[in-house]
């Protein structure tokens, strides 16, 4: 029972750590590159405009897809590793 509890707590901790990492990337591409850091990226030209614009209208969306699939894949592995899957 105590082992189960410790195991469950470790699983949850690993999940929260993974979520935090993913959310940092999520915020970095959208709020970062596409909005707040756009002036910094203004020097990098992309098809008639700059990299920040590309992130705002294409790049962030593509990254979001990547994040979700990465999370799903990683979590399904954690489920098995901790024996807490279905």
């Amino acid at each position: 029972m105590a082992d189960d509890k410790a195991n469950a707590a470790a699983y949850w901790k690993a999940n929260v750590r993974l979520i935090t990492g993913c959310l940092i990337v999520w915020a970095l591409v959208s709020y970062g590159c596409a909005i707040l850091l756009r002036p910094l990226l203004a020097g990098i030209p992309v098809g008639g405009t700059d990299l920040g614009f590309w992130f705002a209208q294409q790049g962030s969306i593509l990254t979001f897809i990547g994040i979700i699939f990465f999370y799903a894949w990683k979590m399904n592995r954690l489920d098995k590793q901790f024996g807490l899957g279905e």
Partner: protein, 598 residues
Amino acid sequence: MSQFAINLLFVGASFALYIGIAIWARAGSTKDFYVAGGGVHPITNGMATAADWMSAASFISMAGLLASGGYANSTFLMGWTGGYVILAMLLAPYLRKFGKFTVPDFIGDRFYSNTARLVAVICLVVASITYVIGQMTGAGVAFSRFLEVSNTWGIWIAAFIVFLYAVFGGMKGITYTQVAQYIVLIIAYTIPAVFISLELTGNPIPGLGLFSTHTESGVPLLAKLDDVINALGFRDYTADVDNKLNMVLFTLSLMVGTAGLPHVIIRFFTVPKVADARWSAGWALVFIALLYLTAPAVGSMARLNLMTTVYPEMAGQVENYDEAASNPILYEERPEWVRTWEETGLITYTDKNDDGRIQVYNDGNEAFADTAEQRGWAGSELVVNNDILVLANPEIANLPSWVIGLIAAGGIAAALSTAAGLLLAISSAISHDLIKTMINPRISEKGEMLAARISMAGAILLATYLGLNPPGFAAQTVALAFGIAGASLFPVLMMGIFSKRVNNKGAVAGMLTGLGTTLLYIFTYLGWLFIPGTNMLANTPDNWIFGISPLSFGAVGAIFNFAVAFAVSSVTEEPPQEIQDLVESVRYPKGAGVATGH
């Protein structure tokens, strides 16, 4: 065959398909009605979620807003996709594990309180009805154009069809019809976009075409667009925004709203396993991204096409934009699509300087006023409603008439699928959470279904009535709904999973604070219950607190919600042990059964 007949044929054929599927999969029990028996594959579910998600706001309205706002309106693109990241990691898998099928169910059980359940029902209904108003606005535009009737008639016809459709379908019908609708709408959206991208840049992928060279002028497409609209006194399409705070908050509002909207969350109850809920969110975003990556191309290319239609000399290599601007087309020689849209009242022309030509420019730009005067212009003469842009797009680009029919079917599919999903969320909140759980637990299945249908009818009447005088373009109205959902429901759902300490009192206080402050802020600028003329302050950036627009306030409301819920919980008692165990159990996929409601 006339364009009208072709439109009718496409719209009619797509309807026959949806109705056919709805009948084939007619809901038998209440459980089927709400969650499609819990046995839907992640990819199927992802596709249905995408259709559910991409409403008239995404399909009809968003590209128009991108066209007019340029970079500043990228918020819609990021907000409505980035929300899925939060949904996939912070809510979907745990709510699936919890295994009930409505959002108030979770809130009521987790916060062991019928008051919390009731407040959740209220938040859900307010957010969903605001959302349906936006759908009605968009659907009204589509119907008015394709049936060649006035905008008001268009809205009523849309209301009638949505009602019939949602009432008889239920979730199971909706899941499979929504897959069909997704296919119709994505084809309808991308085909014209591919044609136009090829025409303008030679690149068949619109998202790449956007950053390619404009064939006719030899400069990059976006640079060309900036030059053209600059010559007419508009801000650069790619111009950065000054108010970054507002842009960040607006994006955040749309994201948390995405994760807080009941009709999307409900989707994740219909997959067989917790792992599938995670994949499902990913697939949904893939299908959504197909449209969202295309939308900015549609918006910018349509704007360029629109401007070069009015000023034909601006299309190619231009030495002197001043000269090119002096020769707009004659009103008498206006293209056919301007004529047809004039009939709906969504394009209007007034010859302000009596020269028989059409001048379009930014007459609100004081720095440009001198130039305009020199050119003999007396004000912009063509008013084009943003919401028509996507629908008019194939006509502007001279695409064959079957493409126009296709886009009609797609726009209507988008509006219908979302409106139906929302109505389902509203009706299940009222019939299931309010009546069955709180008022009369012994109600028969038949009685519950009847209550569900009556509440759908009520919701649609109210939304249609308010949709006749909408508080903004379809996408803006919808953005308000996101703010409301994000400020009220998202924070408590998240706290319910990630904190064992937040209790019933905290949740109720949090939801009321989030909903209350957000509604207050919105109504102050947009009028009480969106009734025009009842606003207390004019809706202009000068009046906004810290320059935060009513559309962006949801994020602030959400922060208040979190803060109040934590503060109240920390001074009141801990939740009972069995609730802490419940929180513990939703965190692990092990032992998830099928979604139940009884």
